[in-house]
């Protein structure tokens, strides 16, 4: 039932569970023509899965830009290494030199 390899058979009308799986796979590899049709037919009919797809797309978009967020966070708003940890690491570094 839950076949993660390429799907060559299987119904074109599918459940939300299978559709969500295809949505996720589509973020990782190119879907076969059949898989792609199955996914789009479902998304066309099902608002829930269309919403799911857009939400996990937003999640991906935000995460891929996390490095940029790190670079642009002003020190006053950042979560910083606390002073004790800094001191400890400095001591370890000095000892190791």
């Amino acid at each position: 039932m839950s076949n993660w390899e390429e799907e060559t058979k299987g119904p074109l009308i599918t459940s939300c569970k299978q559709a969500a799986r295809l949505v996720s796979i589509a973020m990782e590899r190119r879907l076969t023509i059949r898989e792609n049709c199955t996914m789009h037919i479902h998304l066309w009919m099902c608002r829930t899965c269309a919403l799911y797809r857009r939400q996990i797309g937003i999640l991906r978009k935000a995460l891929t830009r996390h490095a940029e967020v790190l670079d642009n966070t002003p020190p006053s708003r950042c979560e910083c290494l606390d002073a004790n940890a800094k001191q400890r690491i400095k001591e370890v570094l000095t000892k190791s030199r």
Binding site: K17, A62, T64, E68, V69, L70, C78, E79, I89
Partner: protein
């Protein structure tokens, strides 16, 4: 690869190691904190990174900035941690766990147990919300360690399937199940902890 906007943009040999903690400590710490489960683990990773950098400082070519070079070392350390979390359980066990979790989101007919709420925020706004990142980090730390590891490599470090599978010795199919589970769980956790409370603000 992130663009280095730190104050260390000149090229050449490494700077004096006694200044490293003040220069790069906070950045490396935040970088690690998004990818590991707690403060102690992140602090340890930062320390290990500095120690490795100290040993390898002769090999620093100055082709990248000092910070980028250190982030590279930290990434290698992270992958070692990820590998360890994968070795603790067999792949077939992982696969079964993941499939069961995916199943728990649906009834026998494959319909979702809970329907998603209609939140579609502007991704730009999310990026600038400190609270969003805190909740996301919290949600990620609730994922099983292996799921979080694979998900971080894919979505935060932008590694492709082939690279991740090679590092973790798993098949693409294994990885896709793991990622699917991570997305289902994170979406649900974000909805519960952030969007339901923030409906007016996004």
């Amino acid at each position: 690869m992130s663009v280095d906007r730190g104050n260390d943009i000149k090229q050449g040999p490494v700077s004096d190691p006694s200044g490293w903690v003040d220069k790069h400590g906070d950045y490396l710490y935040r970088y690690a904190l998004m990818r590991v489960r707690n403060r102690e683990a992140a602090e340890n990773l930062v320390q290990e990174t500095f120690l490795a950098a100290l040993t390898a400082r002769q090999s620093f070519t100055g082709r990248s900035t000092e910070r980028t070079w250190m982030v590279g070392i930290l990434k290698h350390k992270m992958i070692d941690t990820y590998r360890k979390s994968f070795r603790e359980k067999s792949i077939s066990e992982i696969q079964t766990d993941e499939e069961q979790t995916v199943d728990s989101f649906y009834d026998a007919a494959g319909n979702p147990g809970k329907y998603p709420k209609d939140w579609l925020p502007d991704p730009e706004k999310l990026l600038h919300s400190k609270e969003f990142w805190e909740i996301l980090k919290d949600c990620m730390s609730r994922l099983p360690q292996r799921t979080a590891a694979a998900f971080s490599m894919r979505e935060l470090d932008d590694l492709d399937t082939a690279q991740i599978c090679k590092e973790l010795s798993i098949s693409p199919t294994n990885l896709w199940v793991i990622l699917h589970r991570a997305r289902l769980q994170l979406r649900e956790c974000l909805e519960r902890n952030w969007f339901e409370k923030k409906e007016d603000n996004v």
